[in-house]
């Protein structure tokens, strides 16, 4: 064979299948890491909490006493603290975020919309520990001096606003959580509103509706599902927030009726107690707190993603 023929042979050789197969397998393996990571999370947390599961069973979830010294472990203070602080935080954040999103998609002058959104996303980029530091040093003393006594004066007859006012308390945690989840709810609500076709707005304008009526009838009416999804995503974030909450919630494992009392959440309990845990049952109980936190956040996130669905979440995620 002369060299010309060899060259031609090479030129005509079909692309190698082996390279493709190997590359595809490699990429497949990496994509499957997602499922491996999920399985690992579930398995390791379950393994770690076995001792506690055997000892307490389902009672762990409803028992109110958490006393590591006496070997009593009940998760209820943590579960309640997580739910109350997150839901309160959501209640504060949701109306603000939706209104801000309305302003940024429907009402604001055009030149202002994307810089304002950039600012809100900047808030999402601030690390949790820094929000916690700010909350602890600046926000909590201010809340304790001003708004909290006013709240107590107005609603003190309700047990939730009664009792001694602590700076670091479950309400402070709710406020810091609200600040942290505002960006994600605003940005998803904005996506939801932007997905509404302009023809709907134009139709409403043509009927003589005012700007607000257009927003209410043409935009808000069909967006409830998307907003609900955004709220669930925000809730998911709030449930797992660790550092900022740990720094302003005051750390107490006693269930109190007042929002001005210190409390704890699943995540903050893990952050403060994991390092101190020495005996096996204590460590195991903390693992089970982690397992509960994982399950709660998975359920919330699955619901949220099914609701938001086609609209799609923004790419930014907030640090915790």
């Amino acid at each position: 064979m002369n060299t010309a023929a060899v060259k031609q042979n090479i030129a005509l050789a079909p692309p190698s299948k082996a390279g493709d197969a190997a590359f595809k397998l490699l990429a497949w393996g990496m994509a499957m890491m997602v499922f491996v990571m999920m399985a690992l999370l579930g398995w390791e947390l379950f393994q770690g909490s076995r001792l506690c599961l055997r000892q307490f069973g389902w009672r762990f979830l409803v028992q109110t006493d958490w006393n590591p010294v006496r070997g009593e472990f009940g998760a209820l203070p943590f579960i309640l603290g997580t739910l109350v602080s997150s839901i309160l935080g959501l209640l504060i954040a949701l109306p603000l975020s939706v209104a801000a999103a309305i302003y940024l998609t429907e009402l604001a002058p055009r030149w202002m919309r994307s810089p304002a959104m950039a600012l809100i996303e900047m808030l999402a980029a601030i690390p949790s520990v820094i929000l916690g530091l700010w909350g602890m040093v600046v926000m909590v003393p201010w809340l304790k001096a001003g708004p909290y006594p006013l709240l107590q004066k107005a609603f003190g007859f309700l047990p939730v606003f009664g009792g001694h006012i602590n700076g670091p308390c479950i309400l402070s945690a709710a406020v810091i959580l609200a600040i942290m989840i505002v960006p994600i709810i605003t940005s998803i609500s904005r996506e939801v509103f932007r997905a509404v076709p302009d023809s709907q707005r134009e139709a409403a304008f043509a009927l003589g509706a005012t700007r607000w009526e257009v927003t209410r009838l043409a935009v808000l009416k069909g967006s409830s599902r998307g907003i609900f999804g955004a709220a669930m995503l925000g809730l998911g974030r709030a449930l797992g927030e660790t550092m900022a909450v740990t720094m302003v919630i005051g750390k107490s494992t006693v269930i109190a009726s007042s929002l001005f009392a210190p409390a704890c959440t699943l995540a903050s309990g893990l952050a403060t107690e994991f390092g101190d845990a020495t005996d096996d049952l204590y460590v195991s109980a903390l693992f089970e707190l982690g397992l509960v936190l994982l399950l709660v956040s998975i359920v919330t996130n699955v619901l949220a993603h099914l609701l938001v669905g086609a609209v799609g979440a923004p790419k930014h995620a907030r640090p915790a």
Binding site: A27, Y103, I130, K315, H316
Partner: protein
């Protein structure tokens, strides 16, 4: 037409608009306050000493370097796995599998970061009998994987199919066309996604608490505990001394500048393109 009713409707519209504006301002207010206090309390405490000395000399040099080391370790794990996984979804995956992986990655992105810390504690810290930079890097890397995977997939999906078809028509093997043509075309977007993921994990504290732990001195080996900025800020903020609080604010200012520089860099990188990251 009914003039009084019209007037009322217009008034309601104006009031609602004003209320929405007020809410938008209230949403931005915390950011302004945080940046203000960071500048006021942090700027005075950041000096050459702070950036170059160890904690016992009033510095945070080891924590700054430690944060870079941890993020670098996280990149070593998170980038190859995330990018290749994203390539699989966009170039090879069947619709159903793609949906499942995407959904799984979204769920992992929503998993509280402290849970990752506990996983790595059980997987690495317990068998190695101690906290280490490896463990911290692994925890951050695991958080990075789903982030990078999702952005990579989104970026690759924007490369027009005609590029892939042109490559195939030239007889180029698919793996080469993916790496040299598709990935290269989407390169800027993919890098952007990686930078955002770095900015995100650089600020993480919770997953480092029991994995990288902390260190008041230089770490001489990756199997030793290592200091990190967020962790150091947390430790100092719990301390009862004003000098340490000042240091915490200084550390916070440095950390925020890093994180915002990353995000700002991303904005510059993606300006003018129609990338979904450049919103």
């Amino acid at each position: 037409m009914n003039p009084p009713l019209d007037k009322r409707r217009k008034a309601i519209s104006a009031a609602a608009s004003a209320l929405c504006l007020l809410c938008a301002l209230m949403v931005i207010l915390p950011l302004a306050l945080i940046l203000f206090h960071l500048a006021r309390l942090g700027a005075g405490a950041v000096d050459w000493n702070f950036l170059t000395r160890l904690p016992n000399d009033g510095g945070m040099a080891n924590a700054i370097v430690g944060s870079f080391v941890l993020v670098a370790l996280a990149v070593l794990l998170g980038v190859p796995v995330g990018v290749l996984g994203g390539i699989y979804l966009s170039e090879f995956g069947t619709p159903r599998l793609t949906w499942a992986v995407r959904f799984g990655a979204d769920i992992l992105n929503g998993t509280p970061s402290i849970v990752w810390g506990i996983l790595v504690y059980a997987l690495v810290v317990v068998p190695m009998k101690g906290a280490s930079a490896y463990a911290g890097g692994l925890a951050l890397g695991l958080i990075m994987i789903p982030l990078v995977l999702r952005t990579t997939e989104g970026m690759l999906a924007m490369v027009p199919d005609s590029y892939r078809e042109a490559a195939l028509a030239l007889g180029i093997p698919k793996w080469k066309s993916v790496l040299h043509i598709v990935l290269k075309t989407a390169g800027k977007g993919v890098v952007t996604g990686i930078l955002l993921a770095c900015a995100r994990v650089a600020g993480e504290t919770a997953p480092l608490l029991f994995t990288a732990s902390g260190n008041q001195y230089w770490s001489h080996s990756l199997s030793e505990p290592i200091a990190s900025l967020p962790r150091q800020i947390y430790t100092y903020s719990n301390a009862p001394y004003n000098t340490l609080h000042r240091q915490a604010w200084a550390g916070a200012l440095v950390l925020v500048l890093f994180v915002l520089a990353f995000s700002a860099g991303v904005r510059v990188l993606t300006r003018g393109s129609n990338s979904p990251l450049a919103k």
